[in-house]
Symmetry: C2
């Protein structure tokens, strides 16, 4: 009998009360890895919820400095274990150990954590707002325990106890119950070991960071809706996301979900005439990066009919068919791609290259491109927006720019979208025709570049209209805005000064925290002569 | 046959396709008023949704200045018609014509509109954020048509085409479909007449402001979930609110709902010993103001057992029974109060005074107070938090401060909560015992004052945890934050400078709009030497 990994509940690594076990899979070979991981029964979830609720009671009395200390020390432990984490992640995901995992994703993960730590220390993320005339003061504050469901594709940067949702939730002062992704449970486990140690060192309560690996769907939804839970951070597929959204929202919980995106790209004729090769290079880069398994991978490309488009598609198809097909993260993704491409073809798309799983133990699918006319797209826009998560893309060849605009009008919500146009501004009219409808359906709009890549900056929006996410007003990446998801607005009306949180007392809590005092943003103290007015 | 009022769809006042009609009622007499108002069939809603979608396409190309001009000119028309609006509202609601309607609620309504107009002109509400190093820029922007459902209790300040949700939605650039409250459809109609005129003068498209009076529940939910609708602003009762929330969220729409609040007040023994009479005065004022029909009316009071509490309750009950019982807004509220007080008594509360409807045509219920022990409250906290919207309040007499803390721990989400304590700080320990749990369950915390009254300031939170509202991160009152509800986050990543919205271009769009540029709030232009760093 193989070892079954323990779960982390209330600060203790202990055996789960398991209804079943599962194994992670090496996608490069299809082999099951050891140890086994438990599928928890409700009693495990119940214990984690109790511990989280109790942790929250303790954390409410702590300042942002404690959370900052924890996160910073956790980041250092991760950095020190970079090789170990990379080895586990590589084995479980087949993502390149370097540069991808160790030199790109891990540094980004550390950056997110360290920015979150700074934000927790600074407090300005909470938009402190003070009206001195009426003595009314408000800021965002923690909301309560947050359940974080991580996705398959970024084992570090979106990990349930290491990624952006985790960092945002705990920096805002909330305990986290992490639900591992079954494809890389070993990475999540290693992160949780480091987080537990850092939490203990920083004096956080034992329920501040917990880890479960898996559970029955019904129990998962019950946890999400439980009175002890306050909010959800979810990144993953649409069916699970929608089920969680409904369970959470019916119970009055806040659900932040990133669920799907085909990331439409419009290539206007002038851009193609001007720099077809450069656009193809950028597209190929984006399509093959991580075997297309990025949330912002450009999966749906709009072009105007004509010889240059034919040449462009021929070049793209040829280069895709010559490029090695990468390894997908899980066997399930091979099935998904097969189904999605089948839907496109069934609805009238023609394959340009690829279209089939690659036999053998490895999780792989041929690099795939398909095309469909604008007329056909407009007949069934929903089917042609079926997300094919992985190395497959669909090209919509429209009659003209007007038909591209009509097609864009039928888009669902996406994380990103891009318009390529001639550099001299001569296609600005076409841009103005298309942009408003594309803008309405994407969280982030790009010009003259492909959609992949998410810069961690305060100006980023990694979010978008439904069904890309559950709430288009928020971003999952970018500090400080991502913290604001896991928060409630707290107003203090004539509360005695010494009872106010430090963030809202007269002196600036750090000497440099931005606060809005009497309608002006300032780093000054309340009552300081440097204040405006 | 009496006249049936027309609906406002796509800029035209036209006859509804009605399945039925209804009349508003004069609550002072119970008499039905004329004209009749139509219950619209789906075809009316469908037409309004079409017009709203078309209006939104036009409004996307307009700047905040156009919305500001509309709102400001609308406010002037309202001001000029103050007497007319007051007369209609008084007849439909029996609220005092003056000071309440004309001298308090109308000026507040104008203030909200004018602040929203300023916010639309300024643009800073959208939290413009610019990262010059990466050329990534983002801000909030309009989301699309918003359906606003107004409540019964503030015919001006929360009216579906005059109140805070309306002002916020349209200032953010969204068309509004107003759903009148059947208790004061005549006021809503008059507002819509003025809004239509102002919209035409300001060059807004005809579907920018529309008005329907009523519809079947199924059609209403269908409208909320329709692809042409983007978000909902709702203020009203919990059953309707929850149905709308579910329909909206299942379809991926954002639902901002204010549904219920009992506004818990804790009176610590030292405060009672120090200033029992002043506290009773404040409480009576709050309970009788608007016949208790304020969202923030203190309906649930926690006290510690003892002689001073007995004396306090006796005084409150006596003054309540001697005070004239005000007129309620609708016959339905009399039934609601009867049911709510019945639930309290059925679960073990004892009436101190009142408890029955007042016979006759007037909509009225005896001023009512009931008491229950802390033990009993803890046995059935849900029943004793049944909202009795109107002039009824419940007093929970706990064994001691520890039991008050235990009771507060069982509270549901509320808009406001207050703790009264002795002025010299000698009850700070009790405060610290109770405050964290009360804080968690209220949007706005007060000290040493009752909960009624909402100041329109940027620091206000008129919101709170579920089920007081649908999302505890947002406020329905206060500019600029209330605008952020009806918005989506829009990021521009390497978008050519002349294609950016003016708010995100290098020059400050107004010369004084606050923007976060490279992590510092500033009113400067991008690239200005006065920028930090």
């Amino acid at each position: 009998m193989t070892e079954t990994a323990p779960i982390l509940v209330n600060g203790e690594w202990r055996g789960a009360e398991a209804s079943d076990v599962f194994h992670t899979i090496d996608p490069a070979t299809g082999e099951a890895l050891t140890p086994a991981y438990p599928v928890s029964r409700w009693s495990d979830l119940d214990a984690a919820l109790d511990a989280a609720a109790s942790a929250y009671r303790a954390m409410r009395g702590m300042g942002g400095e404690a959370f900052a200390r924890f996160i910073a020390s956790y980041a250092s432990l991760i950095e020190a274990d970079a090789d170990g984490l990379t080895a586990i992640a590589h084995r479980e995901t087949a993502l390149d150990a370097a540069p991808r995992l160790r030199d790109v994703e891990l540094p980004r993960t550390l950056q997110q954590l360290r920015l979150a730590a700074e934000a927790a220390r600074d407090g300005g993320w909470a938009l402190p707002t003070i009206d001195t005339e009426h003595d009314i003061r408000s800021c965002l504050g923690p909301i309560g325990p947050v359940c974080v469901f991580g996705p398959n594709n970024f084992p570090f940067a979106y990990g349930c106890v290491s990624g952006g949702d985790f960092a945002a939730a705990i920096a805002a002062g909330n305990p986290v119950i992490g639900k591992a992704h079954p494809a890389h449970a070993g990475v999540d486990r290693r992160f949780a070991e480091l987080a537990r140690q850092a939490a203990e060192d920083a004096g956080l309560p034992p329920g501040a960071v917990q880890l479960l690996y898996h559970m029955g769907a019904e129990d998962g939804l019950k946890m999400v809706a439980d009175p002890r839970n306050a909010a959800i951070g979810f990144t993953g597929g649409k069916p699970a996301g929608l089920a969680i959204k409904r369970a959470a929202e019916d119970a009055g919980k806040l659900a932040y979900l990133e669920m799907s995106s085909v990331n439409p790209v419009v290539i206007l004729p002038g851009a193609l005439a001007e720099r077809s090769a450069a656009i193809a290079d950028a597209l190929l880069d984006n399509l093959l990066m991580g075997t297309g398994q990025f949330c912002t991978c450009p999966g749906l490309v709009f072009l105007a009919a004509g010889e240059p488009t034919e040449a462009f598609l021929a070049a793209v198809a040829e280069r895709l068919s010559n490029a090695p097909a990468g390894t997908l993260l899980t066997p399930g993704l091979v099935d998904n791609l097969t189904r999605a491409v089948g839907l496109w073809v069934g609805a009238g798309a023609d394959l340009l290259t690829g279209g089939k799983p690659i036999p053998g133990g490895r999780c792989a699918f041929e690099n795939t491109a398909a095309r469909v006319s604008g007329d056909r797209f407009l007949d069934d826009p929903q089917t042609f927006q079926t997300e094919a998560f992985g190395n497959a893309s669909l090209y919509v060849v429209c009659r003209d720019v007007e038909q591209i605009a009509a097609a864009v009008r039928r888009l669902e919500g996406n994380l990103t979208g891009s318009i390529w146009s001639r550099g001299d501004g001569s296609e600005d009219e076409a841009y103005r025709l298309i942009e408003p409808d594309l803008r309405q359906h994407v969280g982030r709009m790009l010009n003259d570049r492909m959609t992949n890549g998410v810069t961690v900056t305060g100006a980023m929006n990694h979010g978008g209209p439904y069904p890309a996410t559950g709430h288009g007003g928020f971003t999952a990446v970018g500090v400080p805005a991502s913290l604001r998801r896991f928060a409630m607005l707290r107003c203090y009306d004539h509360v005695r000064h010494d009872r106010l949180p430090p963030l809202l007392q007269d002196p600036n809590p750090t000497g440099r925290t931005w606060r809005m005092i009497d309608e002006a943003w300032t780093q000054a103290d309340v009552g300081s002569p440097t204040l405006r007015g």
